[in-house]
Point group: C2
Chain length 388, copies 2
DNA sequence: GTGAAAGCGCTAACAG
DNA sequence: CTGTTAGCGCTTTCAC
């Protein structure tokens, strides 16, 4: 009956249920191994080690163990060392639910994205953004719950749900659909949230933390580069749909560069087409007469630039000799086929680093003044390749 | 002092700390609104409604409320209705940490992916897989924690960590790097895990639940289609690196189809190249003499097929007239430029649906016999477009 | 049917 | 510096 006393000892303060399970098991046969018995007792078969287990072995109270694990300054180095060693040996990991219940912190960040992302022209960019985001949070020891803004079944806001269920400490919002209600909840529960990449559609962004890209600057850089390379008559083609007006800003930058170079703006050189290869391809054929009078194209997405180059070739117009082209996004389209495309690299690395560090500060440290918002428009940069 | 009695009442059984905060606040001024006071009391400013709040309003015990919310059969319809109505009015959401601590269930699935996914040739496919996976889990009311298999800093297994921290109920493994140790932990803690898409490298897959794609069948379908379209001498080009031998199986299927059509297999028609547009493009030019003697190509990735078509055109070889081509993956490459590419659609929708339903069963219901593994090789299908 | 009380594993308050 | 005790919000047992 050594096993029984072991069980009784370990489960002294545990539930009736546990005990009954044990008894049942013992009746089934005394030859079951103690590990198996332990597993049977807890319904979920968990045999996790707790701070009490450590406490017993270290001959201290569980409070002391808790303090050691949290590196409290009020514990002597000696005890700390002893306790941590045992914890290490038992491969202890904290039960995050218990800790969260007590501290109201989960160590989890909610990353909210746009539904229907699959259909995006820019999804390659966004996907890269997610993976790098995940990676950055990982190095900061934060887990992420990734969800769509709105539950497609219930149509309820996932942001609100996650707040109320207390599953996350903060949010990174990679969509522009944040609603008034979401925002109210964030305020009310004082949950930090940072807007990334997308500008909210329904909300005054000046009230939030954000890291966005400076699309105006991107358009400016692209156009200025074309001008520097000797182009005089420059077309620009934006994409529709225009999420968060990003293309609008790029066109603004285009205008700004032209003005700077004393070139009057001709609105008939500004187009907007579907963000698809075929659409771009057709565009060239349809507007070939106009295009023949131009010497530069600022394509506001790489996929357009790639199609333009291919289509122009069929008309005997060579890039970059006869026509300089700059794309946007620095996506794989820009390095798919030679000539590789000169393009604008969106500063997603910088956005991610800043946003992750900020959310860490906001969720972990009390000394941050949350009322002072961090708001940055981060500048993209030019990558010169062969198309210009 | 109405406010004070309200506070005292609500915080009767709460911490000293809470109370001190309240008192401090009251000293600051009696004009602070009670909502603000409540917010101040809890350090984290949370003013969540709990089952006790509901209980008080409904004049029942919090136990009863709990039972109602969990739709227990031992509660009368009348009480249930009353309680649920109040819960609805208060916009109650369960505190998931408290529930999890008590039930050992979190409602969260860990989705584990491969590090360095960014570099994958097939990443577009995998990205689509993730988004659809997330969507499917969402409709099943499951949240997902998305992490890399291994923490890049500590090099510790995230699978093990999530198990021990009790953050997840189960895993969907979208990588092939599961280790012996991971597996041992899964067994020991009896956590369900399903292998998706990728075949594990270090582990005997026959011991796990899995839903993979039948690459052999894909290769077979592609080749058979080419044969049916009249091709006799068919090249196949696989990609390196060969993750989980997927290309090996596709080539097997290619062989099987040829054999079925009594065509002897010529190993010099089987190639392996980098999964890149340029590599494929160059391949055509380098092997143009051989290619001229062939009438069909089974390109084991759409991106290869796209490059082949472009390169062949430069040699005056038109697709599909002079050469039939079938790609693989049904990715956006296959519909980028005409002629659109006949391709093999990977059954990711079916994989996702099955895997998500299975993980739900495995984590929610006790009646499932976990020792019987669900193991399916799901068949991809052919999408006929213009290249064949 | 319902409620009182205990317990999940942890942190925090307070007393030594 | 350390231990005792209470409490986080929920589920579960057991008594009525």
């Amino acid at each position: 009956m050594k096993v029984l006393s072991f069980i009784l000892d370990r489960y002294k303060n545990r539930s009736y249920d546990s005990f009954m399970h044990t008894c049942a098991r013992l009746l089934l046969g005394p030859h079951t191994s103690s590990t198996n018995l332990l597993r049977t007792i807890h319904k979920e078969s968990t045999i996790s080690v707790t701070i009490k287990d450590i406490a017993k072995l270290a001959n201290v109270s569980h409070t002391t163990v808790s303090r050691c694990l949290n590196d409290s300054p009020m514990i002597s180095d000696k005890t700390k060392e002893k306790v941590l060693k045992i914890a290490e040996e038992l491969q202890y990991e904290v039960n995050s639910n218990a800790r969260s219940l007590s501290t109201k912190k989960t160590g989890i960040i909610g990353v909210i994205y746009q539904q229907g992302l699959e259909d995006f022209g820019s999804s390659a960019y966004i996907n890269a953004l997610f993976l790098e985001l995940r990676h950055a949070l990982e190095t900061l020891q934060l887990d992420t719950i990734l969800v769509e803004a709105i539950n497609p079944d219930t149509l309820a806001s996932n942001t609100v749900r996650l707040i109320k269920q207390q599953k996350v400490d903060g949010f990174l919002l990679v969509h522009q659909q944040i609603t008034e209600e979401d925002n109210r909840m964030l305020q009310e529960y004082d949950i930090p949230a940072i807007q990334i990449h997308f500008k909210p559609e329904y909300l005054d962004i000046t009230t939030m933390d954000y890291y966005l890209t400076d699309n105006d600057h991107g358009g400016y850089l692209a156009t200025k580069h074309l001008l520097e390379r000797g182009a005089h008559k420059i077309l620009t083609i934006a994409c529709s749909p225009n999420i968060g007006e990003e293309y609008g800003y790029r066109t603004e930058g285009y205008r700004r560069a032209l003005t700077e170079y004393d070139i009057s703006i001709d609105d008939s050189l500004i187009f907007e087409i579907e963000c698809e290869y075929i659409a771009a391809y057709d565009f060239i054929h349809e507007h070939i007469e106009l295009i023949k009078t131009c010497d530069g194209i600022f394509a506001q997405a790489d996929i357009l630039a790639a199609a333009f180059i291919a289509a122009l070739k069929e008309h005997g117009i060579n890039v970059p000799q006869d026509m300089k082209i700059v794309g946007y996004d620095d996506s794989f389209y820009s390095i798919l086929v030679p000539p590789f495309i000169t393009t604008i690299h969106q500063p997603r690395e910088e956005i991610i680093t800043k946003a992750c560090n900020r959310i860490l500060d906001l969720t972990r440290s009390d000394s941050v003044d949350k009322s002072i918002k961090e708001q940055e428009l981060i500048k993209p940069y030019l990558i010169i390749r062969e198309s210009s």
